[in-house]
């Protein structure tokens, strides 16, 4: 069973499948493209299931490792593997891809094949990011995944899409090119090795660590995004089509946070400890300040975008507490946020498809015309606010507990998010869903179709399951997080 290269399958099934979808050509074959895309997305998810089923939670070592020389001239290898930190993201990504395909089923009528192909290729590339153990391989996937998202925002996006797409691309590129220099520097220091695992053991002095830490901070901080380099995200979210927003929020933001755990903490542990104060400050600003910013938004997508930044601030905060509770909490938060933010954007997409407006002021009394939708939207809003029994609560609670262990006032600051999150989410929910029917457009709304019901229901089950019984998620990551912390505690100086 271990002979089957599941990780390669997880990467290449969606990519090759995406190219196949592309080959269906013009919009005359749109139904074929949709069907094929769904098939590929499901196949892509199925091949990731053995990664979870066959995962050995008792070890922190890399599993499902594949190692093949790729560019021997620079000792670059096709080196894949997952541990407890990354394996769940591969599954999450493959799962979200199915939702995206379903979400864009009816709405996208132009260039359907290209749309579906972009998402499938992107899904494969992102699996590549989460499973790369070679620095350049990681970088290649990291950069290449910008291309499909750039196209998705630019082709199927809103009126200001060009600005948003180029801003998104250049922000991320700027960060990642500095990371490339850090990777090259590590390559020189490690005597010609691009293996991330070798770099974990590489001794570095504090000056080197500081420079590398900041290079990584720029790359991953932009991607997370952390305050003050977050401004690309609201633009990208607002302009992107629903599917683009879902992938952006559910997966792309996780790449940055994942980078901190895979690169920053283990490769430059001393610098990470040295500058943890900075990260904690930036994270708290994101949590509190951006929470307030979310409160005043009039555009639903923008509101959820800011709420994503605030939630991701929670994640980076958890990482730099250096205790297992907070890190695991942050990881749980990442996965939960993948479900919840994805679901929130899909819900907004459902409304947008009917009304072609994202302004909160255009809505009101949706519950009278779309009761089923209102129920789902309620659940996801509660999860976004961190209500107990939903997945949103578990991660936030763990991070707050971990933060209190570290320092009471940091924990206190983080806990403010529970109030703010509830305030901005539920206030939006109230204005959109409750009250009298606002106008004739709302009065004509139709409730969920079977397709929409299906994907929201699946996500609702995930959110509830994770909230009620998070053990299957935390169990997997335990050994790897413990090992990571042991490693970080040992100075490299």
């Amino acid at each position: 069973m271990t002979d089957i290269p599941f990780l390669s399958l997880a990467i290449w099934v969606p990519i090759l499948g995406g190219l196949l979808v592309l080959a269906t050509g013009s919009d005359r074959n749109a139904p074929l493209a949709r069907g094929l895309a769904l098939l590929v997305a499901i196949a892509g998810f199925i091949v990731t299931i053995p990664l979870y089923v066959g995962f050995d939670a008792s070890t922190s070592a890399m599993q499902f490792v594949e190692l093949q020389a790729w560019i021997p001239r620079f000792n670059i290898n096709y080196h894949l593997g997952v541990d407890g930190i990354s394996v769940l993201f591969v599954l999450l990504n493959a799962f979200i891809t199915i939702m995206v395909v379903l979400g864009g089923w009816k709405v996208i009528e132009e260039k359907v094949a290209q749309y579906m192909a972009c998402f499938l290729v992107m899904s494969g590339l992102m699996n590549g990011i989460f499973s790369s153990l070679d620095g350049i391989l990681f970088y290649v996937f990291f950069e290449a995944s910008l291309i499909p998202l750039y196209l998705v925002i630019g082709i199927w996006g809103g009126p200001n899409r060009v600005y948003a797409a180029i801003k998104f691309f250049l922000y991320t590129l700027c960060g990642s090119l500095l990371m490339l220099l850090a990777l090259l520097y590590l390559f020189m220091q490690a005597d010609g090795s691009f293996s991330i695992l070798d770099w974990h053991q590489l001794p570095l002095n504090i000056a080197e660590q500081t420079l590398i830490f900041f290079a990584f901070l720029v790359a991953f901080g932009v991607k997370v995004p952390m305050w003050p380099v977050h401004t690309w995200l609201p633009d990208a979210h607002v302009e992107a089509p629903t599917g683009g927003s879902v992938v952006l929020a559910a997966i792309a933001l996780k790449l940055g946070a994942y980078g901190f755990l895979r690169f920053s903490l283990p490769i430059v542990p001393d610098a990470a400890q040295e500058y943890s104060g900075l990260i904690i400050t930036l994270s708290l600003i994101a949590v509190i300040y951006i929470g307030f910013v979310a409160l005043v938004q009039t555009d639903m997508k923008k509101l959820v975008a800011y709420s994503s930044i605030s939630h991701m601030g929670f994640v980076t905060l958890g990482f730099f507490m250096f205790n297992p509770l907070a890190i695991e909490g942050a990881l749980v938060q990442m996965i939960s946020h993948g479900f919840v933010s994805g679901a929130m954007f899909l819900c907004i997409g459902v409304l947008y498809d009917r009304m072609h407006s994202r302004q909160i002021a255009d809505y009101g009394g949706v519950v009278h015309t779309m009761p089923k939708f209102a129920a789902f939207f309620m659940l996801f809003s509660m999860a976004n606010a961190g209500l107990p029994a939903t997945s949103g609560f578990v991660g936030e609670f763990m991070v707050i507990l971990g933060a209190v262990q570290f320092n009471f006032w940091i924990g206190f600051g983080a806990a403010i998010t529970l109030i703010l999150g509830a305030a901005y989410t539920l206030w939006m929910y109230k204005r959109v869903v409750f009250g009298p029917v606002a106008n004739s457009h709302v009065a004509e709304l139709e409730d969920l179709s079977a397709r929409e019901f299906a994907f929201l229901a699946i996500l609702a089950v995930c959110v509830l399951a994770m909230g009620l019984y998070p053990f299957p998620f935390t169990e997997v990551m335990h050994a790897s997080v413990d090992e990571l912390l042991r490693h970080v505690a040992v100075s490299k100086l």
């Binding site: 250049l170 590129l173 090259l184």
Partner: protein
Amino acid sequence: MNFVVPDFYPAAAEIFVAIMALVVMLASTFARGVRWLAYALTQFTLIAAAFVTIYTLKGDVSYTFSNLFIGDLLGDLLKLLIYFSMAIALLYGRGYLADRNIDKPEYYVLALLMTLGMMVMVTANHMLPLYIGLEMMSLGLYAMVAFDRDSARSTEAGMKYFVLGALASGLLLYGMSMIYGATGSLEFSGIANAVYHQAANKTVLLFGIVFLMAGISFKLGVVPFHMWVPDVYQGAPSAVTLIIATAPKLAAFAMAVRLLIWGLFDVAEQWQSMLMFVAVLSIILGNLAAIAQTNLKRMLAYSGISHMGFMLLGLLSGVVEGDRHYALNAYSSAMFYAVSYVIMSLASFGMIILLSRAGFEADSIDDFKGLNKRSPWFAAMMMFVMFSMAGIPFFIGFFAKLSVLQAVVAAGYLWIAIIAVVMSVIGAFYYLRVVKVMYFDPPVDPAPIHAPAELRVLLSANGLAIAALGLAPQALMSVCAYALLASL
């Protein structure tokens, strides 16, 4: 004095091309009515020359014609690449020239003579043949730039190129004479010997290097000798621009390598510091100026300036404080960059030719508007080229940048590497803009693309090669490294 018959064998390819150039000239004189003849003979010559070069390929280094000529793997490899890019460039350009009624046999004769010039440059072991080869190449190019003689732009560009080119040749020649004065030799090994034994007058030598550098910079089209590049690229017929932007860059690379590394390796740190100035300024100016362009040929001209600057980063990272440990790595990365650039450049100008038709030049960025609607396939090919030039993986341009940056970081020039990557981000903007107009904007002219099948097939192959070489760059990288290793 007895006369020794030189060994013609290593120079078989050069001799063959020279004879064929005359054959094409005569054939087209006597068979004026057969329009395809000159083209067909030229393509045949390039292909046959490749076979001759492969057949006479030797692993070791051989000298002939009293050491004027050097036959080595580096030269052979570059010659093969030159035939290859010339053949593709002529194929791309054929329909374009026919549409404008300038597909005269003389064009192909000039192309062959130019090829011969480049071959001589690549295999020169002595300043004189190097200079003769350079002039042969340049004269061919001057005439080709002005080939569309009824177009004011084309003749203006030809004139500009000629005047500035003659000046640069003069500078180069002056530099060569100074080096001769300082070292007493015109042969590269003799120069190297004199420099190694510190028998050369340092001041004169350094002045000579400055002038050489001016000549090399002009031919590569890098700052501060870049003024001609945008005007010539824009003014010349696209088919000729395609030629200027490809094979001569390889020949200029060979010239730089022969002069600087074969001849002046022992004063590497002197010329490296000059190159540093040239390379960094080219990267900065090329990328910044490209942003403001609305003409695609002009934009590609500025982007070419920055690419050549990037390539020079590889050449200047060879020797660090006397440590030559990284030299081979650095030079082969520069060569890999030059080859990658030629492959990308072929495809980018090929796309302009594809979209052009009689009476219409598709050389404005706006002409690419909505290409995704008109032809998704070729929009994807152009997207490959643009992302590759911007250095985004999985395309060959990324690995070219990676290998050069790796050499720069290894040499410890972190500040140069930082400038280079920051400028790459700026550069990404204008490449992204081309992708933007193709994919995000509606088409201005919804007509489907009409182009000969051979152009379509070859352009597709070229675009796919950019992606395929990005997935598996190892072979090309090691060929470059091996050729340098075997020749040094």
